[in-house]
């Protein structure tokens, strides 16, 4: 039991940190520009494919740097020549624009790398068990991911809270017009944030690709979860995104280990109820079965009860 607890905690944290890497860019974009970037998960997928391609030809370390850089550049260009033009037409237009981009990335990836996944593996230098957690040999690569993610958070947080550009970004989150009037180039800040966000999604792809399966459908499942993280954490809040990522990571990893259903509870209090049909279905459903939908439940509760999220400064 203790073993399960320890491993689940560690895994939950690592999964949460990967989510955070994706969500950090998204929360800034969402918070500043109000853009629901539906292509964010596609950029993550593109990052994994670029990581695979670069590490196959040059090596994993260059992939770690070049992949995110390429995506960051692509993201900045996308903002400059696409989103900025669409911005004036409102949020639905922006949304649809990113949706179209997601389609195109999806198809382009399939056109270049084929419709089946690619064998993106953990680099051999990091492919060994680092330590044993009770009976389980724990892979070094996952710890590497953890360390990298923590470093990214510390770095981002430092930039946002200590540097001048960070100050401008934080100001632009709440008062974009005022920042513009003070003579800062707000569109350029947007472009920068979008680029960095895309780069971070790419980085998550490069390091997440070997853990998960690098295939054309890896973007599909992630998109909605990311919005959940962003809203629960609070728009534009980095600590919020971190906490929400960890929360969702842990909830999802812990809940799946619970086999308890309403049935058991009813039995425990000594009532022998036999419900039919739909009620029966609900009764027999275990917490483990509904684990993956818990984030959406949390999202719903959060939006109804506290719409600004955990650390948000304003309502969604």
């Amino acid at each position: 039991m203790l073993e399960q607890l320890a491993i689940s905690t560690l895994n939950g944290i690592i999964y949460g940190m990967l989510l955070f890497m994706l969500a950090s860019g998204l929360t800034l974009i969402f918070g500043m520009m109000g853009v629901l970037n539906l292509a964010h998960a596609s950029m993550y997928m593109l990052g994994a494919y670029l990581g695979y391609q670069i590490s196959k030809t040059i090596g994993f370390l260059p992939a770690l740097i070049l992949g995110p850089l390429a995506l960051g550049l692509g993201g900045a260009l996308l903002e400059r020549y696409g989103l900025r033009r669409v911005h004036q037409h409102g949020h639905v237009s922006e949304l649809l624009f990113t949706f179209g981009v997601a389609f195109m990335i999806q198809e382009a990836v399939q056109m270049i790398w084929g419709r089946i996944g690619v064998p993106y593996r953990v680099p051999p230098e990091l492919d060994f068990p680092l330590f044993r957690l009770f009976d389980t040999p724990y892979p070094a690569y996952r710890i590497f991911v953890l360390v990298l993610a923590v470093a990214i958070f510390v770095g981002l947080f430092a930039i946002l809270s200590r540097s001048r550009i960070g100050l401008v970004i934080r100001a632009a989150l709440t008062h974009p017009n005022m920042v513009g009037m003070l003579g800062h180039n707000v569109p350029q800040v947007f472009m920068l944030v979008f680029g960095v966000g895309a780069g971070l999604a790419g980085l998550a792809g490069v390091i997440g690709g070997p853990i998960f399966v690098t295939s054309p459908n890896m973007a599909g499942a992630l998109g909605a979860i990311l919005f959940t993280v962003v809203v629960i954490g609070g728009l534009g809040s980095l600590p919020g995104a971190l906490l929400a990522s960890l929360l969702i990571g842990l909830v999802q990893t812990f809940a799946v280990v619970m086999d308890v259903s309403l049935d058991d509870f009813i039995k425990a209090i000594g009532v022998d109820a036999k419900a039919g049909n739909i009620l029966g279905d609900i009764q027999h459903t275990t917490i483990a079965q509904i684990a993956p939908i818990l984030p959406y439940l949390m999202l719903l509760v959060m939006l109804v009860v506290r719409p600004r999220g955990l650390f948000g400064s304003r309502d969604v």
């Binding site: 491993i7 089946i116 690619v118």
Partner: protein
């Protein structure tokens, strides 16, 4: 005035609605493949189309059917959606197809069976036959069985029979963990495996029985920890896609020492996704695989690989085409009803053993191989160093399972 354009637009749209009328060609027999051809999972339908084309062309080159008529394969993209399937099915029927092939998704299969039951009842002179070669929900040959449906793949229960036959022979397995997706299909596996293990190996303990939400889990590590805690030796899993690849891969990463008895690990993209984690651990069931030492199929696989740059997988489609052609020849017509009546009683000898259709429920029975992923095989898959190696085989008879089908015959 302002709606004049809409009217013009509607008229244009009306033009777009009309597909060019197909020339009813008496020298061909149209086979319609209705499956998903686009989107992230489009490669499966694409592969099916290539297989079907390949075997149809082979048959055509060998003289075709009914003294020289040729098979003509036409693909329709249903985008994996049951309602879209019905539109595409109507399109196929209008294009003159009387034989419909489909593989992916039992939901779509159910929609086709349902549609054809009504269509054939309402248009008895234009009946259509459905050849299902990969949708495995047992319900299609049990409660929902239909005269117009033939299944040329081993369904879940039959595959479970083959897997449990293998487990029966393996004394090292003492504890089994069932790990399936939470929908009709996963539940069928769970029920069949529990029953069959009890019959064949009463000493085996089922230490876990998991149903996970379909295609929703992103991190499998907690499940691996859960399996490890039970001390299981083997996991039986009918998962597919990411739910399978991620599970096995995470298991390998965390060094979980179990044998994975899977239903789909040998499918396309499987070995690429699993990698070294699967070697010696992942078992799969199939009617054939690349390393079955048999000359004609080896030659076929080589030809197919050369032509499509992809591994031969749907060996069963060769059997389907051959048996279909033979039924047409025997019935001396391409009328689906007459052909179905011939097909449902057909016994056929392939180079791999005896096969037959069970007339009671239109389920096809064939020898089944249980194979293990290995890096020590002559034929590798998908340009990886891995392939599958036979560890056991069940003859067609040994996999037969009872049915509750009460077929309504026209």
């Amino acid at each position: 005035m302002k709606f004049a354009r809409i009217l013009a637009g509607t008229a244009l749209a009306a033009l777009a609605l009309t597909s060019p009328a197909p020339a009813q060609d008496a020298s061909t027999v149209k086979l319609a493949l209705i499956d998903g051809q686009s989107g992230p999972n489009g490669f499966i339908g694409e592969s099916m189309r290539q297989h079907l084309q390949f075997f149809a062309e082979r048959k055509n080159a060998a003289g075709g059917v009914l003294g020289g008529r040729k098979f003509d394969v036409v693909a329709f993209d249903n985008k994996f959606d049951p309602q879209e399937t019905i539109v595409q099915l109507q399109k196929a029927i209008d294009a003159g197809a009387r034989y419909v092939f489909h593989g992916n998704s039992s939901a779509v299969a159910g929609a086709i069976v349902d549609f054809l039951e009504k269509h054939n009842r309402r248009n008895p002179d234009k009946s259509v036959l459905y050849i299902n070669f990969a949708a495995l929900d047992p319900v299609l040959t049990n409660d929902k069985c239909s005269f117009w449906h033939f299944r040329f793949d081993a369904d879940v229960n039959i595959r479970t029979a083959a897997i449990t036959n293998q487990i029966q022979k393996d004394p090292s397995i003492k504890k089994v963990y069932l790990f399936n997706q939470d929908y009709s299909f996963g539940k069928a596996v769970r029920a069949a495996a529990t029953q069959m293990l009890k019959d064949k190996r009463p000493d085996i303990q089922i230490v876990g029985d998991e149903l996970i939400p379909l295609q929703k889990v992103t991190d499998f590590t907690p499940y691996i920890a859960k399996i490890r805690a039970t001390g299981a030796d083997a996991v039986i899993s009918a998962n597919w896609g990411n739910d399978l690849n991620q599970l096995v891969k995470t298991g390998g990463e965390l060094g979980l020492p179990v044998k994975w008895f899977t239903y789909f690990a040998n499918g396309e993209g499987g070995v690429t996704a699993l990698g070294a984690a699967g070697v010696g651990r992942v078992f799969a069931v199939s009617e054939w695989h690349m390393n079955v030492p048999e000359a004609t199929s080896e030659k076929m696989a080589e030809e197919f690989g050369k032509k499509f740059n992809r591994d031969l997988f749907f060996y069963r489609l060769n059997t389907v085409i051959t048996m279909l052609a033979q039924s047409m020849d025997e019935a001396k017509t391409t009328d689906p009803k007459a052909v179905a009546l011939k097909l449902e009683t057909m016994a056929f000898k392939t180079p791999l053993g005896d096969t037959y259709v069970r007339a009671q429920d239109h389920q096809f029975y064939q020898p089944l191989y249980v194979s293990v992923m290995s890096d020590d095989v002559p034929k590798k898959l998908e340009k990886t160093p891995f392939g599958f190696k036979t560890v056991g085989m069940s003859a067609a008879k040994e996999t037969e399972v009872p049915t509750t089908c009460k077929m309504q015959r026209p």
